[in-house]
């Protein structure tokens, strides 16, 4: 048995024991977020808005100066993943051979210790057929001692179209979600979610620019998934805000938002732990084919998405004029009027996180 297998077995046994202890009540359940938190999240908007604005501008600047590391899907060209059949590869020698072909800059990237190399050759002028010739000549140059694990050749027109579809796709998705939220909520919510969304995408693209992650079709998949999941988070909080708006007719919007965010905080954190766990597994074991996908998702969903739903998507509702005319603060409210028409009696009357001043 290898050491690796022993470690996994050990961890497995430990996890099983842990689970059994919890199940039979010898250990208390894990509470990452304590009950009845009362953080004043909304107040942070005076910090979070400027920071987000600055970061967004930074991300956009990076995008326009540093640029994205477009993969061959969008730039066209040739990609070969090769493995030497005879152990380690002399990368310098390989580079020399390939440079001699005169195809401009040839990128070589070695990974693993088994002589695996990723070769990228930029698109050559002269249309689709030329790209095929590039691949044939590279194969002739490298000879027979090499296993070709992956070959991708994307012609100029296909790459143009893929980029076009990708861009249109993201715009259509944003628009579709906007329309859906507009139907389900009020327009302010839809707009707020949208601003938060674009903010997520901009920051993620900035991240991809800094990290120089290969921007290819899977990146578009990652961006769209980030869009979906970060909205998922936002919608959960918005749902609660809407519920609170119906329940508390006079409560000032700041307090109402704080109550809503605090009430859903535990769920937000727990869900992010499970999603991170899944992404972590993909990042560690998923292989390099989806490595950039996992990394982008990790950044977009876990880091940016959570932050955005709490510190951007919710406070922005204040400025978008949700429920205008609410001026009363918690201290001014004597008693919340129950609204019998909305729900059967037992559901109401006792709002879940009872604001303490009311009890006074």
């Amino acid at each position: 048995m290898t050491t690796q297998a022993m470690i996994f077995l050990g961890l497995g046994i430990a996890a099983t024991i842990l689970c059994l202890l919890v199940l039979f009540g010898y250990l208390p359940h894990l509470r990452i977020v304590p009950d009845d938190t009362k953080f004043n999240f909304v107040r942070f908007r005076r910090i979070s808005f400027p920071i987000s604005a600055a970061l967004s501008i930074l991300a956009l600047t990076l995008y326009f100066t540093h640029g994205l590391n477009f993969g061959i899907d969008f730039k066209g060209g040739t990609l070969l993943e090769v493995q030497s059949k005879a152990g380690p590869i002399d990368i310098g020698e390989m580079r020399g051979k390939l440079d001699a072909l005169g195809y401009g800059e040839v990128q070589l990237q070695e990974f693993g210790s088994n002589g695996e190399v990723l070769i990228r050759i930029a698109q050559q002028p002269g249309g689709d057929e030329v790209q095929q010739k590039v691949m044939t000549r590279v194969k002739e140059t490298l000879g027979d001692n090499i296993e070709y694990r992956r070959i991708e050749v994307v012609g100029p027109r296909v790459s143009q179209e893929l980029l076009g579809y990708g861009t249109i796709g993201i715009i259509v998705a944003i628009f579709g979600i906007l329309v859906y939220l507009w139907f389900r909520f009020e327009w302010q919510f839809a707009l707020g979610a949208m601003i938060a969304n674009v903010h997520d995408l901009v920051l993620t693209i900035g991240f991809m620019s800094i990290a120089q992650i290969d921007f290819d079709l899977t990146s578009i998949a990652a961006l769209l998934t980030i869009l979906g999941y970060s909205l998922n988070d936002t919608v959960v909080i918005y749902d609660r805000i809407r519920e609170m708006l119906r329940k508390y007719k006079k409560l000032a919007i700041e307090d109402l938002l704080n109550i809503s965010i605090n009430a859903t905080l535990s769920r937000s954190i727990i869900t992010h732990v499970t999603v991170s766990a899944a992404l972590f597994a993909l990042l560690v074991f998923g292989g390099h084919a989806i490595h950039s996908f996992s990394a982008t998702m990790m950044f977009g969903v876990v880091l940016v998405g959570t932050y955005t739903s709490i510190f951007i998507a919710s406070p922005i509702l204040i400025y978008l004029g949700v429920a205008q005319g609410r001026t009363a603060h918690l201290e001014d409210i004597e008693e919340e009027p129950a609204k019998p028409a909305a729900k059967p009696a037992p559901a109401l009357g006792k709002p879940a996180p009872q604001p303490s001043p009311v009890k006074r």
Binding site: V22, H29, E129, G155, I177, A221, T225, G228, T274, K350
Partner: protein, 532 residues
């Protein structure tokens, strides 16, 4: 929310089980699956990135189609006017049409009438659009213009793509690969996906050839070198041998076209033992070939493939049997491939490879292993975390998620969907997201408990309020997955499919199974406290 009638409970359980059971054929070996009734043979297909193979996107050269159509129109105009004995001059191809000048003004109406007959409705018998393929205009002064309509050209390109698909299919079938997929994509493209191919070079060589074969005479009026330096005679052209070194002067007139071939087989020459291709003509081809060889004994003729001279033997005696032999210093595979091409027929227009993605079998297996490891680790982490956080209810959540994953695989199998590496990533992500529905419900139950409700009341309210949120939050992701499905290709589309199906099954399990499990627990244990 916690009340289930008996039949409803059974319906939910049975439905989930049946959907999960659709996974079974995907787990069996292909031999066992073939013994099952056809209705149960539906199974998951591994994507090219997992089992290795080639994805090749071809484009029909629409300019060649256009050019060919224009040349045919010019020849038709010449033939029509000659038959009608109408004098003409300046017959030329101009832009997207042909123009001709009728010499005598008196003959213009007759010429116009005859030329109008060339224009045919597009779409054959079912032509309801009223569109025609050629527009005939009298430009005055005896000038007649015949323009190809955009509609007619598009129709012709569509036909060319259809024919090409058929011919590409015949060529690939000859390679004996398993389950190749050949589909039309867009207006003028063909997507070829061939799994498990070790070397796509041969496939590409077969696809890259138009395979237009003609038998023509060699023009002996001047040496080819002289024709190159001066100008070849009007009815001849200079073509090169396959290696591109030897020029030949070949008559444009075709003795026998390749369409008249009915069979071609690789073989060996009985004397030299060189690989050759034996072919047979149909009746009309045999008759024409016999007549031509009879006339030209002692002269060389040329076998021309895609404007390259394969060989130019001298006719020693008339060939009347309707069969012959092509020898052109082939390798065994070369002879074999030429026979395949000739049997499959010529493409109506050249095909260009505009995208190629090939994954070798080694990387495919590595990706499968990576995907499986990631799936196990991801699930293990989520399962442990849920139990540590929610105890018994965490166990319920894990049960629901396990059934959820079973159902995703079942639906994918039922649809015969393609599982790619990003697709596996989609499943792993779904595990992370599917527990979110449980987290939402449990957190809501906790809130209701803190608000002082009885356990049963709190569970009931927790479900009722959380489910609305679950619906809203999942639909947004579903919209993103749908968009991804339509814009994505290949592996990315696989991700969109699993993500979308994952959301549907998550909604199903959240609304029925999780609720049923908790309801049964409440009914059997009559709990005084809720251990969330």
């Amino acid at each position: 929310m916690l009340h289930f009638t008996r039949w409803k409970a059974w319906a939910i359980v049975l439905f989930s089980l049946i959907v999960c059971l659709f996974t079974v054929p995907s787990l069996l070996s292909p031999q066992t699956v073939q013994k099952l009734p056809t209705a149960l043979q539906r199974h998951l297909v591994l994507g090219l990135d997992l089992q290795g193979g080639s994805h090749i996107l071809l484009e029909v050269d629409s300019n060649a189609v256009r050019k060919e159509k224009l040349e045919a129109l010019r020849d038709d105009v010449r033939k029509t006017l000659r038959e009608a004995r109408v004098g003409y001059s300046n017959l030329t191809i101009q832009g997207s049409g042909v123009q001709v000048r009728i010499r005598e003004a008196a003959e213009v109406p007759e010429g116009l009438r005859r030329l109008r007959e060339l224009s045919a409705p597009v779409g054959g018998l079912l032509a309801v659009s009223g569109q025609r393929d050629i527009e005939v205009n009298d430009a005055g002064n005896g000038l007649i213009q015949l323009n190809l309509t955009e509609f007619g050209i598009r129709n012709r390109i569509r036909q060319a793509v259809d024919q090409s698909i058929e011919i590409v299919r015949r060529r690939i079938d000859e390679l004996g690969t398993v389950e190749p997929s050949i589909q039309r994509q867009g207006d003028d493209r063909i997507l070829v996906q061939v799994p498990g191919l070790q070397d796509p070079a041969r496939l590409k060589a077969l696809l890259g050839k138009t395979a237009k074969l003609t038998f023509r005479m060699v023009d002996m009026s001047m040496p080819a070198e002289q024709a190159l330096q001066t100008r070849p005679p009007a009815e001849s052209e200079v073509l090169y041998s396959q290696d591109g070194r030897q020029p030949y002067l070949i008559e444009r007139r075709v003795l026998v076209p390749g369409e008249d071939l009915v069979d071609a087989q690789p073989g060996f020459d009985s004397r030299t033992q060189e690989p050759v291709v034996n072919f047979r003509f149909n009746t009309s081809g045999a008759r024409r070939f016999a007549a031509a060889t009879l006339e030209n004994v002692g002269k060389p003729f040329a076998i021309v493939l895609d404007n390259q001279v394969i060989s130019a033997p001298v006719i020693r005696e008339p060939i009347t049997g309707g069969s012959g032999q092509i020898s052109g210093s082939f390798t065994v595979q070369g002879a074999n491939d030429l026979a395949i091409l000739l049997r499959a027929g010529a493409l109506p227009a050249p095909l260009t490879i505009i995208e190629e993605r090939t994954v070798g079998p080694g990387l495919g297996q590595d990706s499968i292993n990576a995907g499986i490891s990631a799936a196990y680790l991801g699930m293990a982490l989520v399962v442990v975390f849920m139990i540590v956080t929610y105890g018994l209810f965490g166990l319920f959540a894990n049960l629901a998620v396990a059934i959820n994953v079973g159902m995703i695989l079942g639906i994918l199998s039922f649809l015969g969907a393609t599982l790619t590496l990003p697709g596996i990533a989609g499943i792993v992500l779904t595990v992370g997201i599917a527990v979110d529905s449980n987290v939402l419900i449990y957190e809501r139950i906790r809130e209701e408990l803190r608000a002082g409700r009885s356990p049963v009341m709190a569970i009931d309210q927790g479900f009722e309020r959380a489910l609305a949120t679950i619906l809203d939050s999942n639909i947004t992701t579903f919209i993103a997955a749908t968009v991804l499905f339509f814009i994505g290709t290949g592996a990315v589309r696989g991700f969109a499919v699993t993500l979308g199906i994952g959301i549907l099954t998550t909604l199903f399990t959240a609304f029925t199974l999780t609720r049923l499990i908790v309801a049964l627990w409440v009914r059997w244990w009559r709990p005084q406290t809720v251990p969330v």
